[in-house]
Symmetry: C2
C-alpha cells in the first residue's frame, strides 16, 4: 500500500478520527486548524480533548495553526470543517493547496444564503483541483474506536472517487464509490433536518413506531427535494442517504438529533446550542432546505415543521400533531 502525505483542514471530531485512521494505515498526516486552543492542547496532551477525547492520535501527526505548514506537499487535502465555516477555511488555506492534490470534501450541509453544497464552495475557489466527497453513516466516535463503518467516495469524475477510495478503504472502514455527487451531498445535508425531527419525537417521549414512520416519510421528502436539486433518486436509498439518515436519527452521537430532543422537551434552541461544543449542521441547513424547496415548489411538510420549531414559532408537540393530522390517504 502506497503511503501518502495527507493534510486535514479542520480538527474537530471528524478530522481527528480520520487522522487516527490514516495514521494507523501509515500515511503522514498533518492538520490545520485556526483554533489555537486546539493546537496548543494537542501539542501538550497528544489528544483532542475538546472534540474527541477518546481517540488516540498517531505519533507522527502534526497539528498546526499555519496552513502553509500543514498543506505543504500534501497529495490529499481533506476538508473536515462545518459547512458554514468552509468558505472561511478555503479563504485561509486555499492558496496553500498543492496543484496536484485531490480535494476530499467531508462537510454535510447547505451554505446559508447561497444554498451551495460543500463541493461547490470548494470548487468555486479551487476550480482546477479534482474533488471527491466522502459521505455516509460515519460517527467519528465509532470510527475512532475501529467500529465497522461503510461510506461512499462520491465524484462525477470516477478516477477521483477511486483515489479517495484507495486512500481510505481498509478492514473496518469500507469505502464504496458513487458517481452522483449532487445526490450524495443533498442526502447528507437533508438527513440532518429529518434527524432534528426524529430527536423531537425522542424528546416528546414517543417510540420506535413513530420514528419508523417519520424516517420513512423523511426519506421520501429528502429524495423529492434532492431529485429536484439534480440528484438521482436511487442515491437517496443508498449509504449517503438512507444509511446516514438511520445512523443519525438513532444515535446518541448525533448532535442534530440531540438538538431536536431538547426542542421536544420544550427547551429553547439558544440554550441547547449554548451547551454544545460542536456544530449542529441541521440548524442552518433546515432554513436553506426550506428556501430551496419553496423555490423548486416541492412539498416538504417535515422540514416546514422543523423550521417552525427552530424559529420558535410553535412547540415540537404542536408541530408533531400538525404532521400527524394530515389526511389519511394512499401512501
Amino acid at each position: 500500500v502506497t503511503q501518502y502525505a495527507v493534510a486535514i483542514v479542520g480538527f474537530g471530531a471528524w478530522g481527528t478520527a480520520l487522522s487516527a485512521l490514516l495514521g494507523r494505515a501509515g500515511h503522514r498526516v498533518s492538520a490545520y486548524t485556526p483554533e489555537t486552543d486546539v493546537v496548543r492542547a494537542v501539542a501538550a496532551e497528544r489528544v483532542n480533548r475538546k472534540y474527541l477525547p477518546e481517540c488516540p492520535l498517531p505519533p507522527s501527526l502534526v497539528v498546526t495553526g499555519d496552513p502553509a505548514q500543514a498543506l505543504a506537499g500534501a497529495r490529499f487535502v481533506l476538508w473536515a470543517v462545518p459547512t458554514q465555516a468552509l468558505g472561511a477555511a478555503v479563504d485561509a488555506a486555499g492558496t496553500h493547496v498543492p496543484s496536484d492534490a485531490l480535494l476530499i470534501s467531508l462537510a454535510k450541509g447547505f451554505e446559508r444564503g447561497t444554498h451551495r453544497r460543500p463541493s461547490q464552495v470548494l470548487q468555486e475557489r479551487l476550480p482546477r483541483h479534482r474533488l471527491s466527497a466522502v459521505l455516509g453513516p460515519s460517527h467519528a466516535e465509532e470510527v475512532a474506536l475501529g467500529r465497522p463503518t461503510v461510506v461512499a467516495a462520491c465524484a462525477q469524475d470516477e478516477a477521483a472517487a477511486a483515489e479517495a477510495q484507495a486512500l481510505l478503504h481498509g478492514e473496518t472502514f469500507r469505502v464504496y464509490r458513487n458517481d452522483d455527487l449532487t445526490g450524495a451531498e443533498c442526502g447528507a445535508a437533508l438527513k440532518n433536518v429529518i434527524a432534528i425531527a426524529a430527536g423531537m419525537a425522542d424528546g416528546l417521549g414517543f417510540g420506535d413506531n413513530a420514528k419508523g414512520a417519520l424516517m420513512t416519510r423523511g426519506l421520501a421528502e429528502m429524495s423529492r427535494l434532492g431529485v429536484a436539486l439534480g440528484g438521482r433518486r436511487e442515491t437517496f436509498f443508498g449509504l449517503t442517504g438512507l444509511g446516514d439518515l438511520i445512523a443519525t436519527c438513532i444515535s446518541r452521537h448525533s448532535r442534530n438529533r440531540r438538538v431536536g430532543e431538547g426542542l421536544g422537551r420544550g427547551r429553547a434552541l439558544a440554550e441547547i446550542l449554548g451547551e454544545m461544543t460542536q456544530v449542529a449542521e441541521g440548524v442552518p441547513t433546515s432554513e436553506a432546505a426550506l428556501e430551496m424547496a419553496e423555490a423548486a415548489t416541492i412539498a416538504v411538510p417535515i422540514t416546514e415543521q422543523v423550521v417552525a420549531v427552530l424559529r420558535g414559532e410553535k412547540s415540537a408537540d404542536l408541530a408533531w400533531r400538525d404532521l400527524m393530522a394530515r389526511d389519511p390517504r394512499a401512501e
Copy 2:
C-alpha cells in the same frame, strides 16, 4: 363513528394491544385464543400478564377458548397469530367466520415449507371473504400506551383496505392505504431477517454506523427479492418496508432483533428462544426467504449469513466479517 362487533383470533401482544385500541373507540371486541392459561388469567385478572401486562383491557372485552362464541356476529375478524400458527388458527376458527366479515391479516412472515404469505394462508381456506392486511411499524407495547403509530391497510381490493382503515384509524393510530398487498407482506416478512442481522451487530458491540450500512443494504436485499416475488419496488421504501424495518432494527421491543443480539454475543439459538415467551417470526422466515431467493436466483448475502448463523454453521462474528470483506465497488 359506527361501532362494530370485532373478533380477534389470537391473544398475544398484538391482539391485546388492538383489543384495547378498538375498545377505546367503542367497538365491541371479543377474542379467541386456544391458550387456556391466557383465557383463565384474563378472566381472573383483567390483564394479559403473559403477553402484554402493561395494557389495560376494555371492560366489555370477552376472551374465550371457544371460537364460535368469539366470532359470532363479527363484522371484522383480525388474525393476530404468528405466521407458523396461522394455518392451525384457520382450521380452528375458519368455519365460524360470518360470511360478510372482512378478514384483517396481521401476521408477518412466510409459512415454512409452503412459503405462503399470511393472506394466502387465509384466502386458501376462506376464498370468498374479503381481506386486508394491516402492516407497518407497530410495536404492540407502544400502541398499548397510545404512542403515535402509522401503519398501512393493504389490499388489492381498495374497498377492503378502506374498510380496515375506517375501523382502525384514529388520533394516535394513523392508517394509510396501500394496494400492493404482495409487496407489503414481503416487506413485513423480510424485515425480520434483517432485524436478526441488526441484532447481531448489537451483540457484537458495533455501533450506529454499522447499523446504518447494514439496514441500507438490507432494504436493497428485501426489495430485490420482494420484487421477484411480485411486489412493487416502491412499497419496500414505504411504511410496510422501510418503516417497519427501522422500528424493528432499533427497538428493544423487537424479538427478532433480540434473537440476533444473543447470537452476536455467542449464545446458542435454542437457549435464546427458550427464554422468550413470544415467537420470533424471523427465525423460520429466514430459512423460507433463502429458499425463495435460491428458487428465484436472487442474491441475498445478508439472509445467507443470517441462516448460516441460525443453523449454527458459523459465528455471528465470522458472518459479519464475511459480509464486510466483499469487494468495494460502486454502490
